[in-house]
């Protein structure tokens, strides 16, 4: 028995080699460089000088940048709450469908999910543009007399974010609710629980891992999706993502962009850590 095992171990090492090399050279390497870069000094005209400094991190604490972080977190919280409100009931109800309808609903979900995010974003421009579909509908219903001009406002960005991220919540909650044994809910009802009590003590508890995973899958990306804030928010909504992009592409202040990225990464890691503590799981539910 010992011999074939060793043989497969050798083959295994050979097979895993490309992954090892790629992970070390093209994932870990760049990440280490980013951290190093965040401690370097910006050169006068272009590029960086390898002179150690903490200035980039000190800069983050300037009120204007702190405010950007705060705004990003606020937007992420608001978007995530909206995504929960839409996605949790959806994923939960979907798990109660018959197998045939589950399949159909999944397909109907996959089509917009697989459609380019830019196409969907463009749709929202058409809806929110001054005198666009949204304004026309509201005015036709006499809810408002004037066009609301929703494009380039905060609510437009929230809606765009929620729309882009809701499928992740739905998939996460669904994969958790699908494993839920609904006879447990019935048992609780038979034993005298109200529908709300039964939901709270049985269904909600058992779908909590999916919900938490959905929160992570929504919250984390929503701080970096700069193009949604860019296109639906004009220059009114500046997120950490926008700030990093601006520092890289326009201000050419790479060390500061690196320090901002490290700070964002730290924030992300903290969220993932909290998730692990809360759920006790190591993998995100419904990620793939």
């Amino acid at each position: 028995m010992g011999k074939p095992k060793r043989k497969t171990a050798g083959a295994g090492a050979l097979a895993a080699l490309p992954l090892y090399v790629f992970a070390l050279v093209f994932v870990l390497g760049p990440l280490i460089y980013m951290v190093a870069l965040s401690f370097m000094t910006r050169a006068e005209a272009w590029g960086v000088v390898p002179e150690a400094t903490l200035k980039n991190y000190a800069d983050i604490f300037q009120p204007v940048y702190l405010e950007t972080f705060w705004e990003s977190i606020k937007l992420a919280v608001v978007s995530t709450l909206l995504v929960i409100a839409i996605g949790y009931p959806f994923g939960y109800f979907m798990a109660k469908l018959t197998a045939k309808w589950k399949k159909r609903t999944m397909l109907l979900l996959m089509i917009p999910f697989w459609t380019s995010s830019l196409i969907r974003l463009y749709g929202w421009i058409i809806i929110f543009r001054a005198g666009g579909v949204f304004d026309s509908c509201l005015m036709a219903l006499h809810i408002t007399e004037e066009p609301l001009k929703m494009l380039y406002t905060y609510p437009a960005v929230v809606v765009g974010m929620a729309y882009a991220l809701a499928p992740f919540m739905i998939f996460a909650v669904y994969s958790s609710a699908e494993k839920l044994d609904f006879s447990l809910v019935e048992a609780a009802r038979d034993l005298g629980a109200t529908p709300w009590q039964a939901f709270r003590t049985v269904s909600f508890k058992l779908t909590l891992p999916g919900l938490l995973s959905g929160v992570v899958l929504t919250f984390v990306p929503s701080m970096g999706l700069f193009f949604i804030a860019d296109i639906l928010g004009g220059n009114k909504v500046v997120l950490v993502g926008n700030l990093i992009q601006e520092q890289l592409m326009k201000a050419h202040n790479w060390p500061f962009a690196a320090a901002l990225s490290v700070a964002l990464l730290a924030l992300t890691t903290l969220i993932l850590f909290l998730y692990r503590k809360l759920s006790g799981a190591s993998d995100l539910e419904g990620l793939v």
Partner: protein, 265 residues
């Protein structure tokens, strides 16, 4: 009792319908004669004609398709071999490498974009298709790796052991037994990787070269600077392609699955 079961279904239907509204609007306005999309100027196909005359957009489409195929292929090879190798290895570094290689889908894309841009200019790789493929491969690998790993974990190890006992070489076992059993997972992973690659804006914006603009990057710039219904026409065609791909995936999903696997693919 009947009524209570209806309400959730209505909710599902309404949300699903709302998800399609933005997409349908883009399609409807691609047939709009008027250039201003808030005005309906009658049915017209002229934006499709203009679209087919736009060589730059088609070049961008070509770039995107090539990039998606190349990255999905790379990820398929590296991810599958990696997932297989990892099950055979008993090194201490295994968990760490697994963690590092799945990082690209855990951390915000904007950081990945910044990191690659800085790294490639440090190492001196000229920005272009090469950097795009490298960066996209990095975030495509986790999709294949995780799906294949899940499938391998659910696989009955006695199959491979039996083949080894009967004198098959590890390579024969891998090609003759393991690979066919995990192929649905590889396929789903690569399809997902392709979809993620062809839709990516954030990372591409940072690592693209002057002449290698991908389609999402091009559409993004147009959405920012002012957009003509030509983009609607393009989006409509892309949506049809998506529909075809989804149909294909659904069709293949119906094919009988080989026994032994419990993968979620």
């Amino acid at each position: 009792m009947k009524n209570r079961t209806k309400l959730p279904n209505i909710y599902l239907g309404v949300i699903l319908a709302l998800m399609y509204v933005p997409i349908l609007l883009v399609i409807v306005y691609s047939f709009n004669e008027s250039k201003i999309s808030s005005v309906w100027g009658g049915f017209s196909l002229k934006w499709y004609e203009e679209l087919f005359r736009d060589k730059a957009l088609f070049q961008a489409l070509g770039n995107s398709v090539f990039l998606g195929l190349a990255s999905a292929f790379n990820a398929g090879v590296i991810g599958t071999l990696g997932a297989y190798g990892m099950t055979k290895l008993h090194l201490r570094s295994k968990g760490l490498i697994e963690y590092i290689s799945t990082l690209p889908i855990m951390i915000p894309e904007i950081i990945l974009g910044m990191v690659f841009m800085a790294f490639f200019s440090l190492v001196g790789i000229p920005f272009g298709m090469g950097t795009l493929v490298l960066a996209h491969t990095a975030f495509c690998i986790p999709y294949v790796f995780m799906l294949v790993k899940a499938r391998l974990v659910g696989m009955d190890p006695s199959l491979a052991e039996a083949a080894l006992d009967l004198g098959a070489s590890p390579r024969q076992v891998f090609c003759g037994i393991t690979l066919p059993l995990v192929s649905p997972a590889i396929f789903s992973g690569m399809l997902l990787a392709f979809a993620m690659s062809i839709d990516d804006v954030i990372i591409s914006v940072f690592v693209t070269g002057v002449n290698t603009s991908t389609l999402p990057v091009k559409i993004y710039t147009q959405l920012k600077t002012g957009v003509t219904p030509k983009v609607n026409a393009l989006c409509t065609l892309l949506f049809l392609a998506t529909l075809a791909l989804c149909g294909l995936a659904a069709f293949l999903g119906r094919a009988p699955k080989p026994p032994g696997g419990k993968g979620r693919g």
